[in-house]
Symmetry: C2
Subunit: 228 residues, 2 copies
């Protein structure tokens, strides 16, 4: 069975958005896996991977790290399972979508929710998490709280191209989900695991889409410790 | 032969970015066409289409307007020609890419270049163009000139997900172009037709990619009245 190494927080919260991309990619392929939580600061636990970040998977003798690399690995090694990318053009466009998620959506969500996310970190990881927030925001997580509404508004605006798209089709991948759905959904999944606050207003087409993603693969993403 | 109705400006500049999406989609499919310039304010010329905007194509008895609708029409009616979308997942992801281009890239480019674009409008269209700039920017085109450098910087930042992608692959569509390439390229094509100013700094991967697009289909996009 494939082993997945991922971040774990308080109350066994599996909060890493990148790990959720891998979890949903594995579920999409119908591949069973066991997940092992590690602390952000426990680099020894994943030293075998040759890197310092999760997710990492071990599939038999093969070790792969980085959620995008893992998705490409799964697509290459399990070509008979349902495709994550849907042919070369889809694969190339998923790379763009992934870059958009990482460079536009994630930073906006991080600014909006870091003040909550600090609360679910394991005490051993809090100083590291706080330092990473200070690096990008210039202030400690709690100092971002007064600006949460403003940051939600910016996030909502940043999501506009996805919102426009998901008014017209069920998934980013069309009638069926593709890896791009899992990338974007991983941000909302992180949000519901780290914060009790609703990211999207009622009636937002992105909310209905995210519910559809939570329903996929027998509710693979719904069944986890979360606030909402 | 397919007829294309598109905007025309001074010195026969075919400046409409949306029209270039259609031109490149037609070239991609290997379909011959003749292009007829119309003024932005000459709604009578395209009344036959049932709408008030170009591009419009007439293919035999069929009239189609709106560049995205035209692309879908061409893909549906000419399935034996090279695909614009590359299967359903690619089609769905192109819709997102198109939304990103329209809602993020185009507005940023418009603010940066409206002060130049006014210069190439036919005198009959200038009041209309000025009014459309005032509607989105709150000021007349020439008043945007002092902020051009700042708007270029914003455009450059908005393009970051595409830049990251095109460092790793030749086209947005991967090894070969797809409709997403034509959508993004249409903005740079508009820029080189309406302005002598370089949008991208030397060495930007997006510049090398745009040159590749200009080379496609026997230089279909390169051969037009432009500043650069």
């Amino acid at each position: 069975m494939i082993e997945l190494y991922e971040l774990g927080g308080l109350e066994d919260r599996r909060y890493s958005s990148f790990s959720w991309r891998t979890r949903l990619a594995l579920a999409h392929k119908g591949l069973a896996f066991s997940a092992r939580p590690v602390l952000m600061t426990d680099k020894a636990a994943i030293a075998f991977s040759g890197g310092t970040t999760v997710p990492v998977i071990r599939d038999g003798e093969t070790v792969v790290r980085d959620s995008w690399q893992i998705a490409e690995y799964l697509e290459r090694v399990y070509p008979d399972r349902r495709s994550l990318f849907g042919a070369p053009t889809g694969h190339a466009l998923c790379r763009f979508f992934n870059a958009w998620t990482d460079r536009v959506v994630m930073p906006a969500a991080f600014l909006a929710l870091a003040c909550d996310a600090i609360q679910v970190q394991d005490p051993a990881d809090r100083a590291h998490f706080t330092a990473s927030v200070e690096k990008v925001a210039g202030v400690a997580p709690e100092a971002l709280r007064p600006k949460q509404a403003e940051h939600f508004a910016r996030l909502g605006k940043a999501l506009e191209p996805a919102r426009a798209t998901l008014k017209r089709q069920a998934f980013v991948g069309g009638d069926a989900p593709c890896y791009a759905d899992y990338g974007l959904a991983s941000v909302f999944q992180w949000a519901r695991i780290v914060s009790p606050v609703a990211v999207l207003p009622d009636g937002d087409p992105l909310g209905a889409w995210f519910e559809r993603v939570l329903d996929l693969h027998d509710g693979a993403a719904r069944r986890t410790v979360a606030f909402r």
